[in-house]
């Protein structure tokens, strides 16, 4: 029996809060297993980490299997997914580095629940700090094993042997052995001594890591031969389409007395679930459209407001701003006070590839290909939906077309599987763009109240920050304050919502950094100087100073051209720090800002792949421009109303500013993920530039300056 579609206001399992990634300190809690398989062997290193940070201990284990085969290929088996963010490539680099082989000798098999271990979901910027670290450790173990093999083969002391170019060479005799030979030697593998603490390579000695490498399967992309989930074709495959309700929460009363699926189209109905299967997606969609015309629905009363702000205030759980005595006392003491409310609307992720799945049953075994961040989570969801044991379900995630935190769920997988079970043939279900806008979850909207006061020295005597609905990420600011309250209040949400790139850190940094500029102006101080004077985060201070220098902040403050404004913003997120400067102009007729130049300084520890890092930073910047300039989900009559690209404007080529990006490479610091943090400075930097140019405070996204009337 199919699980009914998620109710419209269901919250996603991975919501709001992902715990901050803490620095990893490796402890000797590791296990190594060797298993011979046909054609080679599997080296399984289970890497356990005990990490201390923020007053808590986190213990995680990451399994990092490596498969060695007799042709010399080494395959990393890993549960992360590739959605364009570069995980596949940095994993390959990490293994190649520690194994001492060229990257071309490493294959990476990802996200197949039958083959790869469960590595949580791909989110939280965790691949770089956790998974890559574990793969380095596992690969170093493989390297040590080769040395052990050479030593045993030549009956010598192995400590002076080194691995280079995939081989160990004995210096005097010039004999050498390779991973390929080791893979063939089952006798050795049976008796290999367990290796503890194989040393990982320090950055000073890196030959592969730390150097730019383009996506390892890039050729398949430019030739069009890579199969995304929406390209998967199986023998005898049919195509599906789902009948969607006209409004969230609408219940199907009937398909209409005379409705019949056309010739060649199968109707699949299971309580609320109605789908169509045909030999072409066109026929399936036409049938669903015809059903939508004929169907009779019980519609719920639609919410009255087109904006959620009042409802957030009414349903917020916890204490609103204004009641905290310490804050009120701090404000009373302040020389200047500012109170402001920020409104950040719902937005959509808009991945280039709408979600899609192919489901195939073989007896009571189900296999699904789909695009999601969580193969094991979707496997669990499928097992529950169909009353199966998880061993009966296999989920395979091909490299897919973007997620951005929006594909943590497996709707298409479940829908495809239900259709496939009925017609007893594989079924491809590919969401339309409109479905992807309308039926997938949004980034949460945020209503943020800030009450802040400064003393006569321009220091913060009080800072109260209350976020309704969006979440906790990035709610703690980097500034000292006399009295401090930073709190997130859960509310009801009229729209389905969930994770997004940097989560609530986007809204929280927008509100905080925008208000900081208001305070700086009230204090009569330069925005950069005000931040530095109140900054308690030394790591953030460095990038703030770096961007100001690169952008020539102080010079531009004095010499800016007429009609231009500059703005600065900074933030700390997912254990990396970013600072952003922009130069803007504002169209006087529309108030729409135009970002002319953007300069960003970013530090995320030791850089693993400079090419990948650059792409993530650029991608964050461009994606961050969307909600600044135009993106806003609108809803009416119980439904998202602008679910098409011509109604929901994402950044276009003409919106791209001149970019100048500076990366601080800290060889001494652990590597952190870069897929999220660079987005958080975009909105507030633009807001601050518009404020500087126009004098009008910015309190909403999309950002608008004042319009000239007549």
């Amino acid at each position: 029996m199919a699980r009914p579609p998620l109710p419209p206001n269901a919250t996603e399992p991975e919501r709001y809060e992902l715990s901050e990634v803490v620095p990893y300190h490796f402890s000797p809690d590791r296990r190594m297993f060797l298993q011979t398989i046909a054609g080679g062997f599997l080296l399984l290193a289970v890497v356990g980490d005990r990490a201390e940070g923020q007053g808590r201990t986190t213990v995680t284990t990451v399994e990092a299997p490596l498969r060695f085969t007799a042709d010399g290929t080494i395959t990393v088996l890993n549960g992360k997914v590739e959605e364009g963010q570069g995980a596949r490539t940095e994993i390959a680099m990490a293994a190649a580095e520690e194994l001492r082989v060229p990257v071309s000798q490493v294959q990476v098999q990802m996200a197949d629940t039958d083959v790869t271990p469960d590595d949580w979901i791909t989110a939280g910027s965790s691949t770089t700090p956790a998974t890559v670290a574990a793969i380095r450790q596992a690969s170093a173990t493989g390297r040590e094993l080769l040395r052990q093999f050479a030593a045993k083969r030549w009956k010598i002391d192995g400590t002076y042997l080194t691995v280079k170019d995939g081989k160990v060479t004995e210096p005097r005799s010039r004999l050498s052995v390779s991973y390929a030979e080791m893979a063939r030697d089952t006798a050795f593998l049976r008796e290999a001594v367990k290796i503890q603490d194989a040393p990982i390579t320090p950055p000073a000695n890196w030959t592969t890591l730390g150097k730019p490498l383009a996506r390892v399967n890039r050729r398949d992309i430019v030739t069009g031969t890579h199969h995304f989930p929406s390209d998967i074709q199986r023998p005898r495959m049919l195509y599906g389409a789902i009948l969607r309700p006209p409004a969230y929460g609408a219940k199907l009363k009937s398909l209409g007395e005379e409705f019949q699926a056309p010739n060649g189209v199968t109707l699949v109905q299971d309580k609320e679930f109605v789908g169509f299967v045909a030999s072409t997606s066109f026929a399936a969609r036409k049938a669903a459209e015809a059903a939508a015309q004929a169907a009779i629905w019980d519609r719920p009363t639609a919410p009255e407001q087109a904006k959620p702000w009042e409802s957030f205030r009414q349903t917020g759980q916890g204490t609103p701003a204004g009641k905290d005595e310490a804050i009120n006392a701090g404000l009373a003491r302040a020389t200047k006070r500012i109170e402001a409310t920020f409104e950040v609307p719902y937005i959509q992720h808009a991945p280039m590839e709408p979600r899609a799945a192919v489901a195939e049953w073989n007896g009571d075994r189900l296999t699904v290909w789909t695009g999601t961040s969580g193969p094991f989570r979707v496997r669990q969801d499928l097992a529950e939906a169909f009353g199966l044991k998880i061993e009966q379900v296999r989920v395979i995630i091909p490299d897919f077309g973007g997620g951005f935190g929006g594909k943590h769920t497996g709707e298409a997988a479940i829908e495809a599987a239900r259709l496939a079970r009925e017609v007893k043939r594989p079924v491809a279900l590919r969401w339309t763009r409109q479905e992807e806008f309308t039926w997938a979850y949004c980034r949460p909207a945020a209503l943020i109240d800030i009450r802040a006061g400064i003393d006569s020295n321009g220091n913060l005597s009080a800072w109260e920050f209350v976020n309704y609905n969006a979440g906790n990420s990035g709610i703690r600011g980097p500034y000292r304050a006399g009295a401090l309250r930073e709190e997130f209040l859960r509310t009801e949400s009229p729209l389905r919502q969930g994770s997004y790139r940097a989560l609530a850190s986007t809204a929280n940094n927008f509100a905080r950094e925008t208000l900081i500029d208001d305070l700086a102006k009230a204090a009569g101080k330069d925005p950069l100087a005000f931040r530095l004077a109140n900054m308690k985060d030394d790591r953030l201070r460095l990038v703030l100073e770096a961007v100001a220098e690169r952008f020539q902040w102080e010079k531009l403050r004095r010499e800016l051209r007429q009609g231009r404004g500059i703005g600065i913003a900074c933030g700390n997120e997912k254990n990396s720090v970013v600072a952003t400067c922009v130069e803007v102009e504002v169209d006087p007729r529309t108030g729409v800002p135009r970002v002319l130049e953007l300069c960003q300084a970013y530090e995320c520890g030791k850089i693993v792949n400079p090419a990948g890092l650059l792409q993530q930073a650029e991608g964050c910047i461009l994606m961050g421009l969307g909600p600044v300039l135009h993106e806003e989900i609108r809803y009416a009559n119980g439904m998202i109303s602008n679910g098409r690209f011509r109604q929901y404007r994402v950044p276009r080529m003409a919106d791209v500013p001149k970019l100048d990006l500076v990366f601080l490479d800290r060889k001494d610091a652990p590597s952190n993920g870069a897929g999220e943090t660079p987005i958080i400075g975009i909105a507030p930097a633009v807001a601050n530039a518009v404020f500087a140019l126009t004098g009008a405070p910015v309190r909403k996204m999309p950002i608008r300056g004042p319009r000239q009337t007549a």
Binding site: E83, G84, Q85, G86, A214, R215, R218, R219, I221, V222, T223, G224, T225, H226, H227, F228, S230, D231, Q233, Y239, P262, N263, G264, T280, S281, F282, A283, K286, A290, A350, P351, M352, E353, P354, D399, F400, G401, G402, R430, T432, R433, Q434, A611, L614, Q615, E618, G619, L622, M623, G626, R644, F645, R646, V650, P651, R652, M653, A654, V656, L659
Partner: protein, 162 residues
């Protein structure tokens, strides 16, 4: 070429039309039984198994579905299979010859102008068409509307590199 002139063989199924269409794709003539109103994109992907061309929006905004029709960049999500008859249809699959990539494909590799890569076949076809018409376009011409690429929606690849 069984075009409209010689009459299409139409059999009306219930609400679905069927016709025999002749489509010349990447230099090869295919006879396809299909509803003539189906998007060319669907016929390429589902009937001819040429999945390099992608569906991004179905409304002509994103360009992921770009193919060339007689050398002109066309949005295959908005072009019916019927209207594509009699034209030379070129998809991403036509560019590489044996193992040798087209110079535009090679350029995309060298500039690392892709992330998830979903829009890239469409972007490549747009670029191929642009350079045929205008071998040395200015940045302004690329960005500001002498070309369809200006409207491209895929945010992420760092348009600057594209």
């Amino acid at each position: 070429m069984l075009a409209l002139k010689s009459g299409l063989d139409r059999r009306k199924g219930e609400r679905l039309l069927m016709a025999t269409l002749e489509l010349t794709v990447n230099g090869k003539v295919h006879r396809v039984e299909s509803d003539p109103n189906r998007p060319l994109l669907d016929v390429l992907r589902e009937d001819l198994h040429l999945t390099g061309t992608k569906f991004g929006c179905g409304e002509g905004q994103c360009r992921a579905c770009t193919v060339l029709l007689d050398g002109t960049p066309s949005l295959s999500c908005l072009t019916t299979a019927e209207r594509a008859q009699g034209k030379q249809i070129q998809t991403i699959e036509s560019l590489a010859k044996d193992d040798k990539l087209h110079p535009v494909q090679q350029a995309f590799l060298e500039e690392n102008a892709m992330q998830c890569g979903y829009c890239i076949p469409g972007m490549i076809m747009q670029t191929v068409a642009l350079l045929e018409r205008n071998p040395s376009p200015s940045e302004e011409q690329i960005v500001n509307g002498q070309t369809e690429t200006s409207a491209a929606v895929a945010v992420i690849p760092g348009y600057c590199r594209l």
